[in-house]
């Protein structure tokens, strides 16, 4: 038995989550008293994972796999899991991790827990904490099958360096027929995405108009942050739907979430409360968001935000 981690790369480069799932898998393997094997596909530099505790790295290089295909990848994971007698399979909770995990579960007749936020609290029975009720609660989920599949919620564990000496082994995988062809991919380049961002700056109806987003974008650019918005803002067409965060929009699990002119409806809070530190700037001292925040400023965004930008610029130049 072993722990198998799928460390995903895009255009040859590891996603940030690859280091987090590897760090996490290492700890899980220690708890289970077994070894960890990490699988990568078309990574330029698989040996980078040694730094996060990966001794044995298996790499698949195949020009047919430059675009992610869930059916093919789930089958490769099955092939490697069987070869390595893996009984715990760990993936991330990105778009591809969540796509592939249920397919792996069926391939391996495994119970699956998605959006897991912690190490197993018990290994026998195997009990693991995961988000539920749209992040308003957690469920401690017992997986009773021999093989277990886990997807780790982004930013819930962290990245830990743990340099080890190890090997990188090439695996020649069988590629199954998938019945799915990728036609095109549109991805914003050079802009921090909400999914990847350490810091998210988000604006609400309190900003009064889409034309007032200049200062939100400037604040985001000073912080290297992604921009987001509340549901009413995207409904009003002030900002694109892709920026809508909350229960029915994108979830946010950043280190820092700055909410400006957002009152904090329960559905909005559900989508953002996985963020570690929340700052709320709002004119209304009774705004429910203050109850969920770590730091709050009661004040007019049009006065506070430009000052904040100025102070952050000073801070950045002093700490550069």
């Amino acid at each position: 038995m072993s722990v198998l981690v799928f460390a995903e790369s895009s255009e040859g480069k590891f996603k940030k989550s690859a280091f987090e799932v590897t760090s996490y898998g290492k700890k899980v393997s220690e708890l289970l008293g077994t070894n960890m094997v990490v699988l990568t596909i078309n990574s330029n530099e698989p040996s980078l994972l040694h730094k996060y505790g990966a001794q044995k790295i298996i790499t698949v290089t195949n020009s047919n796999l430059t675009v992610f295909n869930a059916k093919i990848v789930s089958n490769i994971i099955k092939q490697v899991a069987e070869k390595e007698s893996a009984t715990t399979i760990i993936v991330d909770s990105g778009a591809n991790g969540l796509y592939v995990a249920p397919l792996i579960a069926v391939e391996l007749k495994a119970g699956y827990a998605s959006n897991v936020t912690a190490l197993p609290s018990s290994t026998s029975p195997f009990i693991i904490k995961r988000k539920s009720f749209s992040s308003k609660a957690f469920a401690n989920c017992e997986i009773s099958t021999d093989v277990k599949v886990v997807s780790l919620a982004k930013n819930s564990f962290g990245v830990f360096e743990n340099e080890v000496v190890g090997s990188v082994e090439e695996f020649s995988a069988t590629i199954v027929e998938s019945g799915i062809t990728s036609v095109s991919i549109e991805q914003t380049k050079g802009k921090v995405t909400i999914a990847d961002a350490d810091i998210v700056v988000s604006g609400g109806r309190g900003l009064k108009s889409g034309e007032n987003w200049g200062m939100i974008e400037e604040l985001a650019s000073v912080l290297g942050a992604a921009t987001a918005c509340s549901k009413p803002v995207s409904d009003l067409g002030w900002r694109p739907h892709s920026e809508h965060v909350g229960q029915t929009g994108k979830p946010v699990a950043s280190n820092l979430y700055i909410a400006i002119g957002i009152s904090g409806a329960i559905q909005h809070l559900a989508g953002v409360n996985s963020s570690k530190v929340k700052v709320v700037i709002n004119t209304d001292p009774e705004a429910p968001f203050f109850k969920a925040a770590d730091y709050g400023i009661v004040g007019d965004a049009f006065e506070v935000v430009p000052k904040l930008i100025e102070k952050l610029k000073e801070f950045k130049s002093n700490n550069a």
């Binding site: 059916k71 969540l98 249920p102 539920s132 469920a139 400023i297 009661v298």
Partner: protein, 251 residues
């Protein structure tokens, strides 16, 4: 031309504004005073199905795996316009078991397009559609934000981290949808005529194939309540920068 026989998976979930509480030593969801609705993600799937019914002559069956208490939610889906409903008569406590029940109905019913929400807003398992696809060996698109069908050919788009991917595939197909599959403003709600008609539509109760559970919920936890928010004066913004750096250590 092949006819589209659609099965829409409907989860019966607490209204999104519900207070979340637990009973029996935090092992059961407290549904006292809670109103149940069609899972918001499933509404996008159902509305898209109605579109295929009206424009392309598809038939639409809705399915729920659950006990009799979920029937009002299935009736609501019938009132929105589904032709008939199936309830698999068992408590849904594990995504894998639910997927096996739905897979069995698909095999017996000859459906060629299965539409579902990408997850339920209560347990957020995000697994049933993918598992169903894998069990019946249909193609599968997760987090689907657009779907067109022409004969057997399907063009779908899915959300990826930071963008979207357009995919070409074919029926039979399982779709796990979300906002974008239809726009939120286009979501259907039942009208009076629909509600009246729904009473006459068939709601068939079928017995489960009794799939074994792969997971169980040992207990629930509510979110820890935040230690109180540290308020900073609007004239003292540098204090916020200082705290974010030295105390929160996020900048």
């Amino acid at each position: 031309m092949i006819s589209m026989k659609i099965l829409v998976c409907i989860s019966h979930v607490p209204d999104t504004t519900s207070k979340i509480n637990f009973t029996e030593n935090n092992t059961k969801f407290d549904n006292n005073g809670v109103q149940f609705v069609i899972n918001p993600y499933d509404e996008f799937a159902l509305t898209r199905a109605m579109w295929f019914k009206e424009k392309q002559g598809a038939t639409v069956t809705v399915i729920n795996v659950g006990n009799a208490s979920t029937e009002p939610t299935l009736r609501k889906a019938l009132a929105i316009g589904a032709d008939d409903a199936i309830r698999v008569n068992c408590e849904a406590t594990d995504g894998f078991a639910v997927a096996k029940e739905i897979a069995s109905v698909i095999k017996n019913g000859g459906y060629n397009l299965v539409l579902a929400g990408k997850e339920s807003s209560d347990y957020n398992g995000a697994m049933v559609p993918g598992m169903v696809a894998s069990l019946v060996d249909f193609s599968f698109i997760n987090a689907c934000i657009g779907l067109e069908i022409e004969g057997e050919k399907a063009t779908a788009s899915r959300e990826i981290d930071g963008g979207k991917e357009v995919i070409s595939t074919s029926l039979p197909l399982v779709i796990a949808g979300q906002k974008g599959l239809v726009e939120e403003k286009d979501l259907r709600i039942p009208n009076m005529r629909g509600i009246m008609m729904a009473r006459q539509k068939p709601l068939n109760v079928v017995e489960p194939v009794n799939s074994e559970n792969a997971t169980a919920i040992a207990s629930f936890e509510k979110l820890e309540t935040k230690s109180s928010c540290k308020m900073i004066d609007a004239s003292n913004v540098e204090e916020l920068v200082h705290l974010l750096h030295t105390e929160a250590k996020v900048i």
